[in-house]
């Protein structure tokens, strides 16, 4: 699959220790955060500096070898899998190169962990706004590749809204700076096209990301609903009232019970059909008026109780339960399928009802924990992957759920990417002509199609891709 002697050539660049070839060493790289898919890479190379990373890209170009860039491997769509090719791991590149407080940005290497960046700039009253649930492990480079989101993206926007410039290595080994820190640039928005390209367009060598001023005041609320439907309707009512919370998250009863049974217990009401976790931030003046309006919208929608966190510890606890909900589901079953679909916000009540119906009909437990304010659903199903019958029912339920979201005018991913998991849905969302445009764009960055082959656009939609040497390998 790969040219003989490649491991030795790579070792000359990064050192023997950082080229992994033994099955035991490769095991950790056979899947990402969605373990339902497994592929065996031929080898893993882990450069320690930017120069080494570039030298590796150039060596792989010279030897015409396909490769898959990878950060912390927390992705949830099977996007960082390498089937018989090379994994280029970037998580050793974890230096924060510059913090520019005056201009409000930081220059970081791709392997910097999301939460570490916020920690590093906290002393300046700043933070990095995109906050995926995996933020304590995931890397900025991976966030750029996936255009990652998070609860606070409702108000602050997703990764693409926070990237000012990227220095990237293209597959041919050339280095390009996309975007600029010097105000604005002319020309096509290639930076915007690059963010979210799932490792198919280039390797991030450094990223200049915007830092956000910490809000002067924050209020975090928990509203307790007797039905999922009432929580969904309250979500629409809050938005319709002209309020844009910093975050507006929903958790249903199976999720609440999983969290409350775990070490992440946050004091959520276990008998609630659903809770909304709502955060408002901004100027202290007027903020409590907004809190009152949100509380009124929730009560009008049927909330049994609305409480506001009174201490920072209380607030952190409410958030920890939400952010560790996926982890808490580990207690329920050995396997978990995590989904990511987006629907128009006003369709939440009927789509959630449909998801409930599908779960009952297939005999599976669907846990909904998601960004209600964005209409970004995360229906998750814990299951026993060793039970073939149950696995089959879970798969069928997931397909039906995704079809329901598409039928509601939605999309199959809001923040996790297409990877390999969502490939089958792409032809439902986009015409052949549109998929062809995506392939054309990809070819501008990587005409040899060596970077993350077989991801994002189904191979059959991209005839040129199917014929490429990388895809044939």
């Amino acid at each position: 699959m790969i040219p003989p002697g490649l491991d030795r050539e790579l070792a000359d660049v990064v050192g023997t220790r950082w080229v992994l070839t033994r099955p035991g060493e490769l095991l950790a790289y056979t899947s990402d955060g969605l373990p339902g898919y497994r592929h065996d890479p031929a080898l893993v190379v882990l450069p320690g500096t930017r120069d080494e990373a570039l030298a590796v890209v150039r060596l792989l170009a010279r030897r015409n070898v396909a490769f898959v860039p990878r950060g912390a491997g927390t992705g949830l769509s099977g996007g960082a899998l390498a089937d018989g090719t090379v994994v280029l791991g970037l998580n050793r590149l974890r230096r924060i190169l510059e913090i520019d407080v005056d201009n409000g940005w930081a220059v970081v290497e791709p392997g910097v962990v999301n939460a570490h960046l916020s920690r590093a700039v906290a002393a300046y009253g700043l933070h990095y706004a995109p906050d995926p649930s995996s933020q304590s492990a995931c890397t900025i480079g991976g966030n750029v590749a996936e255009n990652a989101g998070g609860p606070h993206c409702l108000k602050y926007g997703v990764t693409v809204n926070h990237v000012l410039a990227l220095t990237v290595a293209l597959a041919d080994g050339s280095v390009v700076t996309l975007g600029s820190t010097e105000g604005e640039v002319s020309g096509y928005d290639l930076l915007g096209a690059f963010v979210g390209s799932e490792g198919c367009f280039g390797v991030v060598l450094d990223a200049t990301v915007r830092l956000t001023i910490n809000p002067p005041a924050v209020r975090t609320m928990l509203a307790d609903f007797p039905t999922i439907d009432s929580a969904a309707r309250a979500t629409s009512a809050i938005i319709a009232a002209g309020l844009v919370p910093a975050a507006l998250e929903m958790m249903d009863q199976p999720t609440i019970q999983a969290v409350e049974a775990s070490i992440y217990a946050a004091g959520y009401p276990v008998d609630a059909a659903a809770v909304l976790l709502i955060e408002l931030d901004g100027a202290a003046a007027g903020l409590d008026d907004d809190v009152a309006r949100v509380a009124a919208a929730c009560r009008d929608g049927g909330a049994r109780d609305v409480r506001v966190a009174t201490t920072e510890a209380d607030r952190q606890r409410l958030w920890q339960g939400r952010k560790k909900a996926f982890g808490a589901m580990g207690r329920v079953s050995s396997h978990l399928v995590v989904q990511d679909a987006v629907i128009p916000r006003t369709r939440l009540p009927d789509v959630l009802a449909e998801i409930g119906r599908i779960g009952r009909e297939e005999g599976v437990t669907v846990c909904n924990v998601f960004h209600a304010g964005d209409g970004n659903l995360h229906p998750n199903i814990p299951y026993n992957g060793n039970d073939a019958g149950e696995t089959q029912r879970v798969e069928r339920a997931m397909v039906r759920i995704m079809e329901a979201c598409i039928a509601a005018g939605g999309s199959v991913t809001g923040e996790h990417g297409i990877g390999v998991d969502k490939l089958p849905y792409m032809p439902r969302l986009f015409s052949e002509a549109t998929l062809g445009s995506m392939c054309r764009l990809r070819d501008c960055f990587d005409p040899e199609r060596r970077m993350n082959p077989g991801k994002v656009v189904p191979v059959r939609s991209c005839r040129e891709w199917a014929m490429s040497p990388a895809a044939r390998r």
């Binding site: 002319s186 096509y188 963010v195 001023i213 008026d289 964005d374 209409g375 849905y425 986009f430 445009s437």
Partner: protein, 400 residues
């Protein structure tokens, strides 16, 4: 080349009468004004592969479109109308030729707005605003046109209809063709319809002007504004000539726009009015300011990293004369100059010493970029419009 018989003689005649380019006698001979996307597809498919087209919305970008030498004009102003609006989703879908003013009227009735404020004002079309990525003062806090665009329908140079994005507010399905198309000046395809993200209208919208007594102290002033209770919706500096043009006393000023809850706005305004030379002004100043560039004035922008904005501002203001209109968006590091060509040269020299980049609207991909970026931009153009049929000369780095 194809004549315009299929696209409606009445529309053609009507359009001819209004077209300043045609009246001047130097414009293209053929003008198409399709009223449906299907007609547009037919025009592109049935014309010869090398026929070139100038793409036109409401005609407010004459400074750029006059530079285009094309066989025919594609006038999209009849391709208009809001096709979907769901207030609860804060999304709206409209055809490209829909005027921003029409969208503003419909959304205002629901307490919502599309916070795009391109130079020239609301007489421009949605399609042109997205295609040019034209952004005014609101962009500094609310975002650029590419942040507002959720989905697009595009007819490419070969007459093939494609889509990008969708109607939901968060979407990472596939490569981001929306961002590629927004700001591409129509060179990668013709936008025919767009879905945009709306926002709730702020409960209160109030503004004030702070006189810039002298050019010194600009950085300190901006820094002090960071301590405000409520972050401003927009901050724009204007020189004395421009201040007088928009009906303010003739002095350099920083205009501050505040939006949000009544209490937060009132408290912040109190803080602002404590600055010497500060006074409240009507928020109607903002559309007036945008309209100062509606006459197709050559838009030349200079850009530096935001912290270096004061020295760029000083250099540009000093290089101009009493007729030069200058305004700046400090947080984006942009200074924009409206002046006759001769004076622009003088301004250009002064900005070089301030280390600024010059942005010529519609200029090529990576004109100032390194060879790898230029090559990448050229590959993108080649991939989507290999024969340079759409707006030839725009976004084409061979031009410079």
């Amino acid at each position: 080349m194809r004549d315009s018989a299929g696209s409606g003689d009445t529309a053609m005649t009507h359009a001819r009468r209004r077209d300043p380019i045609l009246e001047s006698g130097g414009g293209p001979e053929v003008r198409h004004a399709p009223s449906t996307e299907a007609e547009l597809v037919d025009i592109l498919r049935e014309s010869a592969p090398h026929t070139t087209f100038r793409i036109r919305g409401a005609g407010t970008w004459t400074s750029v479109t006059e530079r285009i030498c094309a066989d025919a004009t594609l006038d999209l102003s009849r391709l208009r109308g809001i096709t979907a609006y769901v207030p609860g989703d804060l999304t709206l879908t409209a055809r490209a030729g829909t005027l921003l003013s029409e969208i503003a009227e419909v959304t205002r009735a629901n307490g919502q707005w599309l916070p795009l404020d391109p130079w020239g004002g609301s007489t421009g079309t949605l399609g042109a605003t997205l295609a040019t990525a034209s952004a005014g003062p609101l962009a500094a806090t609310i975002g650029l046109p590419r942040d507002a665009a959720l989905g697009l329908t595009i007819v490419d140079a070969a007459g093939i209809r494609t889509t990008a994005g969708g109607r939901v507010v968060k979407n990472v399905a596939g490569f981001d063709l929306v961002r590629l198309q927004v700001g591409a000046w129509g060179t990668l395809g013709i936008l025919t319809e767009a879905t945009v993200r709306l926002r709730p209208l702020p409960a209160v919208d109030r503004s004030c002007a702070i006189q810039l007594l002298e050019n010194a102290g600009l950085a300190e002033l901006i820094t002090s504004l960071r301590q405000l209770t409520l972050g401003p919706l927009a901050l724009e500096a204007v020189n004395s000539t421009l201040a007088a043009t928009i009906g303010l006393p003739p002095a350099a000023m920083l205009l501050v726009r505040l939006g949000g809850s009544p209490r937060a706005v009132a408290q912040t305004l109190d803080q602002l009015l404590r600055h010497p030379g500060a006074h409240e002004i009507s928020s109607s100043i903002w559309p007036t300011l945008a309209a100062t560039e509606s006459d197709g004035a050559a838009g030349v922008r200079y850009s530096v990293r935001p912290s270096q904005w004061p020295s760029l501002w000083t250099a540009v203001v000093d290089a101009g004369d009493a007729t030069t209109r200058v305004h700046a968006t400090p947080s984006r590091g942009i200074v924009r100059v409206v002046a006759p060509a001769a004076l622009q040269d003088r301004v250009r020299q002064s900005t070089v010493s301030a280390g600024a980049m010059e942005i010529v609207e519609g200029a090529g991909p990576g004109v100032r970029g390194l060879p790898a970026l230029r090559a990448l931009g050229r590959r993108v153009r080649d991939a989507f419009d290999p024969h340079r049929r759409l707006n030839p000369g725009v976004m084409d780095d061979d031009r410079s």
